[in-house]
Amino acid sequence: MSEVAQEVNHGEHKHRDDQGAKLGMWLFLFTELLLFSGLFLLYASYRFFNPVQFHNAGLETHTLFGTINTMVLLTSSLTMVLAIAALQRGKKWLSVSFLSGTILLGFVFLGIKYFEWTSEISKGLYPGSPLLLNKSNGEILFWGLYYTMTGLHGLHVIAGMFILSFMLVFILRGSVNQHDYIKLENAGLYWHLIDIIWIFLFPLFYLIN
């Protein structure tokens, strides 16, 4: 099953290993997971030592923004898999539409994030702000982790959107097509990982309070 894939077209011999490419992508995803896990560990430990402060600080985050953004990312994951499914069936333009939709939802996510952060920063809740420095250590830690973790996640969303834009060009040019779409699949894996990280960030910063 997982042998090197071969394709013979017009006498031209192409050597491919889709399974290998996918395994490599998963290995990369594990390193990403480890990166975020370190931050999740910090969150868990600091929360254990400052339960009340984390509770109080958590009341100030915008649960509605967080919930909408969760749904936006989940929907973008749906359009991502649909883009792959459409290309597998040879429907290039349907795939292009779904992929464009995914990138668009990435912009929506970042837009909501922008309004959210703007509102918090205007309230004086940002790292090193005079308001925050007068609060307890636990609350300072909560907001530090909030900006670090959602910020790092946001950077991943931006990176994901760059990768998906490249995929869009590849599909339009035809180098990613019905018979060779491993690049799109791997880009999809990256996008879903971003989704999974948000699935855990959402309850920790918006719900548990």
């Binding site: 071969q6 491919r16 560990l41 929907t75 069936r89 999809g188 894996l189 699935i199 548990i208």
Partner: protein, 99 residues
């Protein structure tokens, strides 16, 4: 058949399967948001994390195709998951029993 190249899954998964999974994910998100308003005391964290784990496993299994991949992918994921579990467990043992 399109060509002789190996595919991770011979039959492409139907659009409707993906849409159903998406509906489940949205439903779980709504449930977790509503449940957060109810005071479950110590269970709040556990319920929220269990729902998050359920959502993540749906995404990994269906959207990321792990359910349909070769066994080697499951071994990869298992080893990575176990490693993370050990890191978390050891850290928690340290943090919980300080002083």
């Amino acid at each position: 058949m399109e060509s002789q190249q190996t595919k991770s899954h011979a039959e492409p998964i139907s659009y409707s399967t993906y849409v159903l999974v998406w509906l489940a994910l949205i439903a779980l998100t709504s449930i977790t948001a509503v449940v957060a308003g109810i005071n479950l005391a110590a269970f709040t964290v556990i319920v929220a994390l269990l729902i998050a784990l359920t959502k993540a496993s749906l995404v990994v299994n269906i959207f990321m195709h792990i359910k349909f991949e070769d066994f080697i992918f499951k071994i990869f994921l298992g080893v990575a998951g176990f490693t993370l579990f050990v890191i978390f467990a050891l850290t928690f043992v340290d943090v919980l029993f300080r002083r």
